[in-house]
Symmetry: C2
Subunit: 475 residues, 2 copies
């Protein structure tokens, strides 16, 4: 009996196949119409466009001994619309630069790429050095000689493959496209950088007239609708999902289409109604100030869903929504001192109580967090969860409050604060690191029932990348 | 019919009570033997020890009109062994400092604390301003006058309560202990800071002779055992859990005792066996280099469990475990340039494949991350998940590899690398942001079956704080 069968029988191992990686290889290794690449990587920003076609590539380059599924899967880490690939052989010359310890590749368009010896050895793609099923490196740093130098290099297959011979006879081959996508030139890195940048669209209250919308049944059944919904969520940070069935469990269905619900101290799916002895102010009929949720987590949930199952009959229960990135940039413009304080002073957040379980969560967060480029990457603001403990020197307290008040005041400006009353069967889905939400009070004898849940950005971006590959979507 | 009953019937609302917050209040509001406080908060580091007693406090201060459960629950954010509380009235004088916009409280021991006006108003603990069920602020920044000044202040209840009258007649009362625990003096803040510091115990290979151990049945049934297990996990970053039943589902049982499993692209609970077409190198019989898991997440799982259900009969399948914090500090000492590079250059991690679902995760991480104090707070290292894309300038590649090699070399030194072969019925639980793990290869025709799962530090610390309150544990 084969070991794999034995294992399945003994341990009820989940069905694991490499169908995905193979499918990627099969679909993409020979399906491109290849365009022009007029400029070299060291001269101008280099551009590669892979245009997917259904027919076979007419002048496909032979790839004897190479591993197309690996190349293809990895390739999509750097795909973008504005890249162009030359039709014919692209490596014209190759040479060793012993002083710099780099292999120099001269492209047929005249540009030069330099690949460090140690990086080439570490990233040999042969089956001994790289596992084509798990798409992961087998070379261990522990076994790697970081001072290794090639014995010789040469071009093969009409310049489409770089062949490197290492001491002790180990042979590596590198595909020209794989190499270009890993070029270390400033231009190539700058081009790759675009894939890491969010395409953020700032908005104000006017968005209420043009709310980004998605259709719940379509999201659940069509991959393209799912992709477009997630892309809106990424760029705008707010999507109104419509035609949602008016019963419990829909936020989990949506989360499961992306990946899974993110559980928190409020459980997996939470019920926002007026409750006796509420564990959270949301579970009252009172007004809720604009806030982001769960700032007392080191890693708060990335996205929140609020699904309206029943809405108030009378006044109140209106949602307030604000683009935290937009108001942060307005604050930076109008009150740079306040912006500086809110990006440098940490605020204590705390939550103690009983819900899904007993909890006592706390963290200190910047109200406005910046990324390495100085762009706003996260907002953490909540009147209700801000701790009464404030770990600041006494003389910084008033300036801190002035700054927080300035931020809050800009949020509530009519131009910024979108007011919108959800109807039963609608769900708002928003970026909890960016979009602040609140609500107006409603009457104690009125009924309002929302179901809430969370999921995270790691899973969203993963899902979007997979969908882009599966559907052939270019950015 | 009462609204709450109506709601329960209509929406099957989960059972929510404020039992926890009330229980905290009941247990702790009058159960302390109060010690000496020899020095004032502005003169020497101030120390408060709350010694829990079973009998009533003999000279309990009357607290008419105050909200003990709130005070008690919040108090534990700053509890620590080395604090002492004076027996008698502690507020001797109170005055307004209009120039500084602070209320100055003179303690009977001579120290002075200064509380900014705006902070006092924002943190009024009356039921209009603070919800005692959800333990959260009702005052909205939107309604707060940050330029507010008290009309008058006075002491009440033998100096145990500070009473503040605000314009328009609003009244606030603040308990002396609540105030002291929120003192803004450098000494008080420095004392509170200790509650945010991890008590890290560094270790090397010698730990194998004295492995931190925990008993699985005890963890599941005794809160004290659970607390002590989590405290070991926090300080050492590695615990060997014993007497675990040899069947699937135990990692979920353990995670559920803390909070819940953290789902990932490998599902909730994953099976580490030799699999055909593996989605991860762990699912082969090969040697696994020392690594931390899932560095391609922005927020990788905080803790990993590996439960041994069946171990190899022959050689191999031995676990390798290394304290990443210890080796990072060794690197800093022995090779400061390498340490600097690994704390400043970001490394690409990537994972593409099919397991629980199709995934394409990627992130860039520092190999060694430092916190605001320059202490090592996280290690991200993995030969297998490090991407072949490396977004560094060409001339930084060799120095980066030299640094990574230096780090790896220190990890594998016999003094650092703990080698240990789990037996069936044992589970290692370790800090995935700190403790690197790997394994030796084993024979293709041998059988080895581990079950794996993750949970996160936010939930661990929350659980530990709750257990400290419930069990009366002092740090």
């Amino acid at each position: 009996m084969a070991l794999s069968v034995l294992l399945r029988q003994r341990f009820a191992v989940r069905e694991i196949t490499s169908k995905y990686s193979r499918a990627v290889g099969a679909s993409y290794s020979s399906g491109y119409r290849v365009g022009n690449m007029p400029t070299g990587p060291e001269t101008l920003p280099y551009q590669v466009v892979l245009t997917r076609t259904t027919e076979q590539q007419p002048n496909a380059i032979p790839r004897a001994g190479f591993y197309p599924q690996v190349v293809a899967a990895r390739r999509f880490t750097t795909l973008s619309e504005n890249r162009k690939v030359q039709e014919s052989t692209v490596m014209g010359k190759v040479a060793l630069n012993g002083a710099a310890r780099m292999v120099e590749v001269e492209w047929s368009d005249g540009g030069v790429s330099r690949f460090p010896y140690v990086w080439l050895r570490d990233n040999c793609q042969c089956p001994l050095c790289f596992n084509p099923d798990s798409l992961s490196r087998r070379v261990l740093m522990n076994d790697l000689d970081v001072n290794v130098s090639p014995v010789r290099v040469k071009l093969q297959a009409n310049g489409s493959l770089l062949s490197v011979e290492w001491p002790q006879g180990h042979q590596s081959q590198y595909d020209w496209q794989w190499l270009r996508e890993r070029c270390f030139s400033p231009q190539a890195r700058s081009e790759r950088e675009k894939d890491w940048q969010r395409k953020t669209q700032l908005w104000g209250a006017e968005l209420v007239h043009n709310l980004p919308k998605a259709d719940f049944p379509a999201i659940l059944t069509h991959d393209r609708a799912l992709h477009d919904f997630l892309a809106l969520l990424d760029s705008v940070g707010l999507v109104l999902v419509q035609k949602v069935p008016c019963d419990v469990g829909q936020v989990e269905r949506l989360a499961n289409r992306v990946a899974y619900l993110r559980p928190t101290n409020f459980g997996k799916e939470f019920v926002v109604v007026n409750k006796p002895n509420p564990s959270d102010l949301a579970y009252t009929t009172g007004k809720l100030g604009l806030h982001t949720d769960l700032n007392f987590y080191d890693h708060k949930p990335g996205v929140q869903m609020l699904h309206c199952i029943e809405q108030t009959m009378r006044e109140g229960g209106e949602s307030h929504l604000v683009d935290g990135f937009s108001v942060a940039y307005q604050l930076k413009e109008e009150n740079p001192d306040a912006f500086r304080l809110l990006t440098t002073l940490k605020v204590n957040f705390c939550n103690v109580g009983l819900d899904f379980h007993k909890f006592f969560l706390r963290q200190r967060q910047h109200t406005i967090s910046l990324n390495d480029q100085g762009e706003v990457q996260s907002v953490s603001f909540s009147d209700q969860a801000r701790d009464s403990i404030l770990d600041l020197p006494a003389d910084q307290v008033q300036p801190f409050y002035d700054a927080l008040k300035a931020f809050d005041t800009i949020m509530y400006l009519p131009r910024n604060c979108l007011r919108f009353k959800m109807a039963a069967g609608e769900m708002i889905v928003f970026d909890n690191t960016r979009t602040l939400h609140g609500r107006s009070a409603y009457s104690l004898d009125d009924i309002r029932h929302l179901q809430g849940g969370y999921f995270d950005w790691d899973e969203i971006y993963s899902r979007m990348r997979v969908l882009k590959i599966d559907l052939g979507i270019k950015d």
